[in-house]
Symmetry: D2
Subunit: 353 residues, 4 copies
């Protein structure tokens, strides 16, 4: 159910509508648009009486939302969601491409600082780095935990990069929410609904990676879990799906970008590092991701990829990252995007593909 | 690393080996076999000195385990793991087929009792029933929670059925471990490593369902997470994987049964309900699962499938369950298995397929 | 469109209906059932006038067939199609399980005879053997061609086995139709519609293997191509599909057996050799295939699998084939099937799976 | 085996090497490079004596090619293969992007001419159009056959477009080779080795579409079949693969473009029409295909997509095609490519994605 307010409705009227929805035992989700506010209603059973809401002052109309995803849907919010980060120019979902880069894992203060400065200089606005790692083996390196969060917080101070890092469970989510700017939910946890709800009760934006065999609808419903708890700042991320193809670790499904943009107002990034699993494919697929219309990229960069404790095979080095930024720089304006400021080459540097 | 004890080693010698392993900073996992005990060692780095252990009294030899899964592996334990349930004849992994049956969700006391009595009479030893449901939509029925656990505990009292039910997070895991006999970890959480570790610290057996796109190795590694925490009573379950095929909801991959049995000592069940998503396919695939060598079945049964709050399309009714038991009864002995006692028909009742 | 004749309709009346259909510019496909004959009509556009046919003597009713597959469908023919081989007891699709066994490729007269005698003794009614091999590499062994067909014809004489062998193109199809009893169309050619049509104009039965990523509907439509040309003796065969799973070469999709049986009257075999690609999985999956209700098995057997010119890894040896026959012998009656006569063990010989 | 000639080797010396290879019972495949010629040798068994060839005048060295694909490989030919079309500027594989556009099927002279003129004006150099259609149903429109080939030949005369059309079997291949400029082998026939060999004996270039579940190696091996017969002008084409994802008809796997370019000298196009199955996704994925480094695009364009006899849902109209050309025009130079001349808009016209 969606309550569309009149353009001239006052904040008080919006609040009154939300209160009434709450009194009816439902949950109100006010969404401010450029022209007017809409209020999503969740928790209602199929046959909710609209009459009671349509009478309220400031209400233009009450619509039924038939798709299984409600708050995620463009039916509820027409304009693209733009996520802002106070105190910075960085945005995700707006005209600027969001560039999230960094090592798979934070391995040490030295390793992290070594790469972070170069990323910032090249134009990245966000640092990614694992503090809690979901490893296939219980005996593999599991991340430095809070120590890694502290290092990343120092990097934010030093270079102005916003921090994106993964939470694995409720405990790590609390810490991640304290230290980081964006809470990442990994592919393996895309349908960990308990964790999604908990992230939905946090006030930090949530970056939600597509599960290895998640359909479009399942991805959107996972985002709906977060939003249904009141956290509307959700960023989706395509990172490759599992298929029979064996020339890449995963098959990067770029078609989900226009599919998401058609159905949802949420921004979507593309991760060509996990999406291919091969260093030599990160650059061409990063170009393709920008061209297809993604809101940004998530790229693994390590100062010495061959010595990385995890995911070295798919990490590029800082030189290659600089090259990546150079290669996407002429493509971004071709799709109406701006690249963040950096010292990256202004010349397109791709020779004949 | 695996410390193989001599056949004549005393319990004290085993304990001394475990203590020494602990002093070295590693973790000891004693596994009693029919002839002798082996002690798995985890937590060691590649180059652990075996010399120190080989000298200890009662030690026959120290072996390096090169597979990524250790405790799960037949290299560490040759004999099939048989999971017993004190106070009952029920086992999982032994000569008897384990039959786990029940509704997708516990919807009410009446609904649950209506079906449970018929399941017990037909020969099921285990009741499955959802208390906490991982639903794709945050607005769908999420299960009755602890109330459902209480109902199932009553069913155990009334009919002697052991209880299998899913835990979604640490909170529900504590409650499930309190009330139920087997903690189920669902397909969506197969790589929720935090939950796996927590289940590994419980003393209840864990039924681990294969993820929708999990490889054999990933499934075994997920079991390793549980075992690495000291809980060696893990039951695997095939429930279909995601493919392009659209005549079933999932594609049931029965080949994983002999694959698991070759590599691991852990029992493996098959769930033809989720594995096909279609009521009319549950019986033939149940027969196939027994024939392929599964240690048991997990089947959704609802007294009135068309009115089920979840998964009705794949639930059989009690009559069909009785027919299922009749159809597998001549197949079980053909693969060296015994069917649990029940009032099910003794005549094979399948007409020309 | 389907013209259902009255039970008492005479052959002349059926013929008159077919003639009239031909005069209207369509094609008539008479299908004799146990109680009455139905005449399928293909080639008509959507809005064919039924009136003209309903008036004819002996016609009970004229039905519109809305599924995309017509002649394949149970709507057109209720009874299972049973394919008979004159001069033998062998059938495919009836109460007897059809056992097709033999080497991947016919490599020499000696190799073929060495295995054929043992297959016949064990109860196989059909010999499979490649004369024309669709190999991934143009430089790999491509089969002995007509020489192999001659060898197989001699084997038929010597042992009474019916011959099943693959045709790759129109030229080989002519030769295969001359020498063999069943024309096999391989998975790679399942949508080679030109070849399917040509096979449809042959009078020999056609064994059609499911393509590596074919849906159920595509498989049935491929059979429809054959039948639309007037050859109604089509046998389907599941041989595994391509998925992300890597513990087998393909993922054997046994659920397609009940799915086919529900929609179509055509028989369906299962090939656990290609379906798994691993010798140690052929037996358990063969048991499962019988249990799920398949009309028969297609198994690669080589006297010396490790020296096979192709597919050695998935071929069993004659001893293992004998064991296979022993293992399925108690399962066949459990699903209402009879096993062909042979000298195979009468004792179920599977120990605890 | 690969015989690398000295840079100064004369044509006579190359010919002598080829003759000697022929006398040895093998097949010689001379491949002229910018600096020197290499001669691929196929048909030899593993242990071919290189000595005999290394002694010949003009021979620099003889190398063993260990990959399963030989002539396809960059090991054999370093430079990109550029396919030229006499009498035109059109190339495939060079600096110019190759744009292949047109209707799924040639339905009539009017329909074909209506779209062809607009395609030529927009900058396409190649017309695609089906004369022989591989349809899932035997009762669906199967193409106009030779009549369509004649129409396309007229279009070549009228607009200078080169003609690309599919051959289904040996008969249609002869006709296609007579009338068209490029013989297309469709996805369903990618492993129809008989047809591949026949195409390899034609003198026309062959456009080979990736099968629905073909691995990279299988695609390259299919090309090797064509090349092994002496036709070295092969163009690969990615058109989407089959996965669980249901928001598109197929999943377009753009990562295969850099994978092919790394291993092979052959050009590769991308077909975003079949690759997505949705008109609204053709443009974004076309942009991505150019950005990833494809040698060109293959796009379905119909003057009235909603009335197309086949594939209407994925066909764009001429206006959208013009928009597509506009959208890729700024991306092409960013990857070192030139767009063919046309009257298409010079302004990038994509607004904020």
């Amino acid at each position: 159910m969606l309550v569309v307010m009149k353009p001239e409705a006052t904040p008080e009227e919006v609040r009154a509508v939300c209160d009434r929805i709450g009194q009816l035992g439902y949950r109100a989700h006010p969404m401010a648009g450029a022209l007017r506010t809409a209020v999503g209603v969740t928790g209602n059973k199929d046959a909710m009486e609209r009459g009671r809401l349509e009478q309220l002052p400031g209400v233009a109309e009450v619509l039924v939302v038939t798709r299984p995803y409600k708050l995620v849907s463009r039916d509820v919010k027409k304009e693209d969601t733009v996520i802002r980060f106070p105190g910075t120019d960085a945005t995700i979902g707006g005209r600027d491409l969001a560039i999230v880069a960094g090592p798979c894992s934070i391995e040490s203060r030295e390793q992290a600082f070594a790469v972070a400065g170069r990323l910032a200089a090249a134009g990245a606005q966000f640092l990614r780095g694992g503090a809690y790692k979901p490893r296939t083996s219980p005996y593999a390196f599991q991340g430095l935990g809070e120590a890694a969060l502290i290092i990343m917080a120092e990097i934010r101070e030093a270079f102005g990069l916003r921090i994106v890092t993964e939470a694995l469970d409720n405990e790590s989510l609390e810490l991640v929410a304290d230290y980081a700017d964006v809470i990442q939910i990994g592919a393996r946890n895309m349908q960990n609904y308990s964790l999604l709800r908990r992230a939905g009760r946090s006030r930090k934006p949530v970056l939600l990676k597509r599960g290895m065999s998640a359909t479009l609808e399942e991805l959107l419903m996972a985002a709906e879990y977060v939003m249904s708890e009141g956290n509307y700042r959700v960023i989706l991320c395509e990172r490759g799906v599992r298929t029979f193809a064996d020339h890449t670790r995963n098959t990067l499904d770029l078609s989900i970008v226009p599919a998401v943009r058609r159905l949802s107002h949420l921004p979507i990034l593309v991760d060509p590092s996990h999406g291919t699993g091969r260093r030599d494919m990160v650059l061409p697929l990063a170009r393709a991701a920008v061209a297809v219309g993604a809101d940004g990229l998530m790229v693994e960069v390590h100062a010495q990829p061959d010595q990385a404790l995890s995911d070295g095979a798919q990490s590029v080095d800082p030189e290659q990252f600089l090259q990546l930024m150079a290669e996407i720089s002429p493509i971004a304006p071709a799709v109406g995007r701006r690249l963040p400021h950096g010292i990256h080459l202004s010349e397109p540097a791709v020779e004949h593909a």
